[in-house]
Subunit: 243 residues, 2 copies
């Protein structure tokens, strides 16, 4: 892991950009800590530059509360080499939505599964590197989307002990099946009137999770309209499970 | 409204039983207040004596936070005259569940609508009397079940300004239609694995509510297993809307 830039923000949080092989990301850490801190991995739909304001706000809140927070660019997004097959599936999705046709399982699989296959090992490699840094000790939480990535990560990565999942994107049927193996505490956010999402798929996924503690919070406001009070609710969830 | 007993509890909360015509209920008020307090009406599935420990715990928490809290016995429950038609519908429901047969709309209507018809005017009469007491000023919230009663109350009673609704009982189709007229902020609790409830009906009801701010919190733990942290979440919801 190479740090390529670093700045101390006005709330005392240290923000550092890093690269790890072909992975690029950002790490936020609290000002001064006496013991290694827990870590929250912040997922997003891809496009780190575009997402930066929202991601940085979430991450700085985490750091102020005593967590390290990190995010990485999604495969095929931002400055990374395009994922031709995924781009093609996205075009098929747009065509289907525009024509008012159903979004088939085939489109969803081609759109999401390649991302899951590539992003999950990248998150795990990032986790190896982050936990090797002085001052970051775990436990580890995952927060955000893509929900299929968060789900697979919760299945295969035992170091992730709790997750806040944003149900804001399509979910392959196979991932809904995998979800039965998830046993960590989950806090799932669903925008009930999300125009670009399949609500029933999100409910099926929530139903499938094998976790004994799983909570669904559904709100109005469209895809990007998660109410401000949900930030506090997510923070209380992590405080219960990571502190 | 006649107070028939009163006691000061060890947290300083004043608990008084009252009657109002054929209605009987309990009022909890904070120890000492300088201004009239907001009021939370606590709904329940009927059987005030049996429900007392849980209701009193909820109400005392409210009172400690600066609300008055009140509950009344449900028509046909506790010491009140039985509701023969409702008892018959309940027997039909049990038979259907035992036989693994579908719970028909007819059974749900006969089970729930008579309660709604009788309980809602009783809540409104109670509200008149409570708001006439010195020290209780509003705004007013409703909290709990029966969700069909809370829904109708939110439609017809403009003094109820926010509601925490427990989606733990069957909902007549007609009430789901009425729900489109509800516009107050709602916080709906659903036990995802509630064995004696129809989850899809609860989701249809949540979908139908016309409120711009509506939040669904779904959890595991069966009908009576609402997690402790949901008490705090409901309390934060009321603090946002009644204070």
């Amino acid at each position: 892991m190479h740090f390529i830039s670093g700045q101390r923000l006005d709330d005392g949080v240290l923000e550092r950009e890093f690269t790890l092989g072909e992975i690029s990301g950002i790490l936020w850490t609290p000002e001064s800590v006496s013991a290694p801190v827990p870590l929250i991995l912040n997922g997003h739909p891809g496009g780190l530059r575009k997402m930066y304001p929202r991601l940085a706000a979430r991450a700085r809140d985490c750091a102020v509360e005593g967590y390290a927070a990190a995010t990485i660019e999604l495969p095929g997004a931002g400055d990374r080499p395009r994922f031709a097959a995924v781009d093609e599936a996205r075009a098929d999705l747009q065509r289907a939505l525009k024509a008012g046709e159903p979004v088939t399982d085939d489109i969803v699989d081609r759109l999401v599964l390649p991302l899951v296959e590539k992003a999950v090992p990248e998150w795990r490699a990032t986790l190896d590197a982050l936990l090797a840094l002085p001052g970051i000790g775990g436990p580890v939480g995952f927060s955000g989307g893509v929900i299929a990535i968060g789900t697979r990560l919760a299945v295969v990565e035992p170091r992730v002990e709790a997750a806040v999942l944003f149900a804001g994107s399509y979910v392959p049927r196979g991932i809904i099946e995998e979800a039965r193996q998830v046993t960590i505490p989950l806090h799932v956010l669903l925008q009930w009137d999300d125009e670009g999402n399949d609500r029933q798929q999100a409910l099926d996924l929530f139903d499938a999770f094998g976790s004994k503690e799983k909570t669904l919070h559904a709100n109005m406001g469209g895809h990007t309209g998660v109410p401000r009070f949900e930030g506090e609710a997510a923070s209380r969830f992590f405080a219960r499970h990571l502190k």
